[in-house]
Each structure stands twice: as structure tokens, then as C-alpha cells.
């Protein structure tokens, strides 16, 4: 059915307006980070200014942000790898085997997905102190693996279920050991799920703020914590803060443009079929 050209035009203009609303605040972050201090005091509607990387230089050199950038990258990448390995194994176990306690584990995992991080802040602070994990990057990694596993397991569970058992059995008959069945048959078929799971895990570990604030010190701070400390009652150095905001925003932006389809799969998993 052909649609009236006017209707199509209206459709696209509406999409453009919505896209503008979604993108504008993000553009503001980047634009402000490229402004000089004097230009920030100028009207924000004045879009013509001399861009400068001065703010980035200042935060990276004067404020030791390179260290926090390193911390964030370490925590993000290590948590993601560990979460994926453990999550894959658990999803496979849940999907393929029936054993005592399976339902209990399954339901507990499902409920853990939604625990508010603010609720965990106080007990985690106590437990991590006892375990001597406060102010250590590994302490953060452990926490992020734990809070990301429930979502990862359930996302991958759906993908394992879609792989017919017969395929695995056929590979086993052809002489593949369990490990090769897993890596050669299952993993390639689960690739979209793995992509979605790794993006979501990295995103949480990279973006998370409140627990990182409680659990880190000068040496182990992550980027969001460092950025928050720049907001003081006396005033905000917007150029610098937005330079940090941009650094924080860049990896998720890249992921979104590279793998939007996988992200949408992850968002709608469980609720919408197909």
C-alpha cells in the first residue's frame, strides 16, 4: 500500500524532531567540552566559537585523569570478560541440565537482577572492608561481575535454548569433545547474544557510579567518580567537567553505533519475541 507523500514527509519530520531531542543534550556535552572558559560565559546559543582541546589537556595532565581512565578501562574490560565466561557456562548449565535446586537458583537469579544498587552500598562497604577489598580495583571487578551475571545468564539462556540439542549430539557423534562442541557449535550460534551481553556488562561497569564512589580512593577512582568530584558548591568548571563527561560518553557511543541491533535485542529480550 503506497502512502501519501505528505504523510511520509510528516513521518520523517517527526522522526527528525525526536532524534534532535535525543541527541541535543549529548551534543551539548561535547560542545561545552570544546569551549574556552571565556566562551562558556558567553550565551550558550552562540554556536560559533573557536574549539579548543585545552580542557582535555587540563583534565588529563593537571588532574591525573589518565590514571582514572586506566582504572575505568581495566574494571570495564576485566569485568566484561569474566562475566561473559561465567555467564556462558551458567546459561548452558541451566538450559541443558535438570538438577535439584535448579528452579531455586533460577528464580533467585531473576530477582537479583533488580536489586537497587543504593541498597547494596552500605552492606557492600562493610563486607568489602572485612575482605580487604576496599580501594582495590579487583573489589570493583568482583562486584560488577556479580551484579551483571543475572542479566547475562538470562539473556544467554534464551540463546542456548534456540540451539537444537540435536546439533550438539551430531557434533559429539562426529567425535567432538564437550569443549569443542561448546566452542565450535554453540558459541558461533550465540554470537549475537554474546555481543549484546558484553555491551550491557561493559556499560554498567564503565558507567556505574555510586558503588565505585563508596569503594574507591584517590588511586582507584573510576571516571564517573572523578567527574562527580568536580561539582562543588562554589561552582562548576564546566569546560573541564564536560571534557570528563565526553570521555565517559565516548565508549558507549561507539558501541551504540557499531552494534545498535544487538543492543535492541538485549533491551527487548524476554518481552518481545523475535
Amino acid at each position: 500500500m503506497k502512502r501519501h507523500p505528505g504523510l511520509v514527509a510528516a513521518h520523517y519530520s517527526m522522526l527528525c524532531v525526536l532524534a534532535f531531542l535525543c541527541v541535543a543534550p549529548i551534543v551539548v556535552i561535547f560542545a561545552t567540552s570544546l569551549r574556552q572558559q571565556v566562551d562558556i560565559f558567553d550565551s550558550p546559543l552562540n554556536f560559533i566559537f573557536m574549539p579548543t582541546l585545552e580542557n582535555y589537556r587540563a583534565v588529563l595532565q593537571d588532574d591525573k585523569l589518565d590514571r582514572y581512565l586506566g582504572n575505568s578501562l581495566f574494571v570495564g574490560l576485566v569485568s566484561t570478560v569474566i562475566t561473559l565466561v561465567l555467564g556462558c557456562m551458567a546459561a548452558y548449565g541451566l538450559a541443558r541440565f535438570r538438577f535439584k535446586g535448579r528452579t531455586t537458583i533460577a528464580y533467585t537469579t531473576l530477582l537479583l537482577r533488580t536489586v537497587p544498587l543504593a541498597v547494596m552500598a552500605v552492606p557492600v562497604f562493610l563486607i568489602w572492608s572485612e575482605w580487604k577489598l576496599v580501594n582495590s580495583l579487583w573489589g570493583l571487578v568482583l562486584l560488577y561481575v556479580a551484579v551483571n551475571l543475572p542479566f547475562t545468564i538470562w539473556l544467554l539462556y534464551g540463546f542456548v535454548l534456540q540451539v537444537p540439542v540435536e546439533l550438539e549430539e551430531a557434533a559429539a557423534i562426529d567425535g567432538c569433545g564437550p569443549l569443542r562442541v561448546f566452542t565450535k557449535v554453540l558459541l558461533p550460534l550465540m554470537a549475537p547474544g554474546l555481543a549484546a551481553a558484553s555491551i550491557f556488562t561493559f556499560r554498567i561497569a564503565w558507567n556505574e557510579f555510586i558503588l565505585a564512589l563508596v569503594l574507591t580512593d584517590r588511586q582507584t577512582r573510576t571516571l564517573p567518580v572523578a567527574a562527580s568530584l568536580f561539582i562543588t558548591d562554589i561552582g562548576v568548571d564546566w569546560g573541564k567537567v564536560m571534557a570528563m563527561g565526553s570521555l565517559i560518553a565516548i565508549p558507549p557511543l561507539i558501541f551504540t553505533f557499531v552494534a545498535a541491533r544487538q543492543i535492541i535485542t538485549g533491551l527487548t529480550a524476554g518481552a518481545v519475541k523475535g
Partner: protein
């Protein structure tokens, strides 16, 4: 189980155990910075002080109002936009990519962006108000306006989520059903209200539950945007917990409020689970 062992161990130690400890801590008087050994068992004392604190009640009220306003606005906007724009057009994949940006970016960065835009002196919003001849507002210094600010930021961040869920759900409807309704003489409004929306009611319900759960978990955007202020006008429950624990230094009382928040979210999660269970239809 060999396959589940490591994952279960990590989740039990670093996710379930803290939740259990939250319940335990709620019974102790423990000040920040003192060793755990000096904590005293006080029974229900923390709950009493938490629940007789008017600030806790105003915080609970703020949270409920915040969740109600944000989630209903997001649902109505998201569903309406999805219905208006469900027709597949070329380039939709690109637009969808732009639409998920607000929820992918760090909440801290989102808070920064909106704090800057709402800034009374340099903010974009006041500049636009001035340009069209309206008087600028001191957004983050006025209790009502500050509340509007955190609501606007949340709606900006999460309406696209509802939109994308609904677009996916509407795309899944069998076209012949709509066609049949059309041939039977159903107009657009009737097709929408009587056929399409009932067919995606399941997805609407799940989306609503997911949004409600997340609305009660919000913390970071508000932390950056207003830090609960001015006064305690935007101090949502999760921020109240943080402040009680790490500024008021009353860890036990904070744990007691945590238990309250946990119960609310757990009840919602249980509801969500009833609606959408990934193990549905499996033999036990």
C-alpha cells in the same frame, strides 16, 4: 554443578550476601568509620528512627510521585509515538540508533548535561526562554522546578525505551488481523484501541513493570543534577539512603530504609516475573 558453580558462587558472595547483610545491619547501631566490632545490636530501634523521621516520609513521597509522573508520561508518550511512527520506513534503523543513545550514556554524564542545560546563568534552557521572550527561571534553586528538572531528565532518558519496545511489539502483530479489522470497517482509532493495543497488552504490562522498577532504582542522575536539593525537595529514597549512610553516618538506619526500598522493588520484580518468565512452559 560444574557449569553453574562459579557463577552461583560469585553471585551468592557479592550480590545475595550483601542483600542478606542489609537485613542484618538494619538491627545494629553502627557509625561510619568505626570498626564493625563496636556495632551494637539495637533490635527494631533503627526502623523506629527511620520511620519516625519526617524526612524519610517526604523522601518516600517524592519517590512515589517521581515514579508515578515519570513512568506514566513515558508510557503515554512512548506508546503514542510508536503508534504514530510504527509504519516501517527506510532509515528507521539509523533513527533507532539515535534513540537508544540517551539510555546507553552514563547516568553521570546525563546528569551533567541536564545540570548544565538547567543552569540559571549559562544554561541553554534559560537562553531559549529569553530568546522567545519568556523570563528565565532559577531551575535548580526552586523546589517545584527542581523536581520538574529531574522528571524531564528521566523522561528524556527513558521514553525511547518504551518507544522501542512498542515498535518491536507492534511489528510482531500479524498484518492479516489488522487487514481483517479494516475490511470489517474498523477505523484507525478502532483498529488501535480494539485490535492493536489489546494484542500488545502483554508487552505494555512488562514494559510498565520494568520502568517502575527502574524508577525506584534511580540515583545517579539526581545525585548530579540536584543532590536532592533544594532542601530535600528532590531527595528520592535511594539518595536518602546514601546520605543517611555516608553523610549522616548512620549505617544502621540507612540499612533499615534499604530494607524498605528492597521490599518495594522485590514486590514489583515478583509481579514482573509473573508476567514474563523466561522459564515459562518448561517442565519443572
Amino acid at each position: 554443578m560444574l557449569y553453574l558453580g562459579p557463577a552461583v558462587l560469585v553471585m551468592a558472595a557479592a550480590c545475595l550476601y550483601p542483600v542478606v547483610v542489609a537485613f542484618q545491619l538494619a538491627g545494629y547501631d553502627w557509625a561510619l568509620g568505626t570498626p564493625w566490632d563496636s556495632a551494637r545490636w539495637v533490635g527494631a530501634q533503627n526502623f523506629v528512627s527511620a520511620f519516625t523521621n519526617p524526612r524519610m516520609w517526604s523522601s518516600l513521597l517524592t519517590t512515589l510521585l517521581f515514579a508515578a509522573v515519570c513512568v506514566s508520561a513515558e508510557m503515554v508518550l512512548g506508546i503514542a509515538l510508536a503508534l504514530a511512527l510504527e509504519h516501517p520506513v527506510r532509515g528507521m534503523a539509523f533513527f533507532r540508533t539515535l534513540f537508544i543513545l540517551p539510555m546507553m550514556i552514563a547516568p553521570i554524564a546525563v546528569g551533567l548535561a541536564w545540570r548544565y542545560m538547567f543552569d540559571a546563568q549559562f544554561g541553554l534552557i534559560n537562553a531559549v526562554l529569553k530568546a522567545v521572550g519568556l523570563s528565565p527561571q532559577t531551575w535548580l534553586a526552586d523546589p517545584t522546578l527542581a523536581f520538574i528538572a529531574i522528571v524531564v531528565a528521566d523522561i528524556w532518558q527513558w521514553t525511547p525505551f518504551v518507544f522501542i519496545m512498542m515498535i518491536a511489539a507492534l511489528a510482531g502483530i500479524d498484518g492479516s488481523v489488522i487487514e481483517a479489522a479494516r475490511i470489517d470497517g474498523a477505523r484507525w482509532w478502532q483498529q488501535t484501541m480494539r485490535v492493536k493495543l489489546p494484542m500488545v497488552m502483554h508487552v505494555i504490562a512488562i514494559t510498565l513493570m520494568m520502568r517502575l522498577i527502574d524508577a525506584f532504582r534511580v540515583l545517579e542522575v539526581v545525585y548530579v543534577l540536584t543532590f536532592g536539593g533544594p532542601g530535600d525537595s528532590t531527595e528520592i529514597l535511594s539518595l536518602h539512603i546514601y546520605k543517611t549512610a555516608f553523610i549522616g553516618q548512620q549505617l544502621g538506619v540507612a540499612a533499615a530504609v534499604s530494607v524498605l526500598l528492597l521490599v518495594v522493588v522485590a514486590a514489583l520484580s515478583w509481579g514482573a516475573l509473573r508476567l514474563s518468565n523466561p522459564m515459562k512452559g518448561e517442565p519443572p
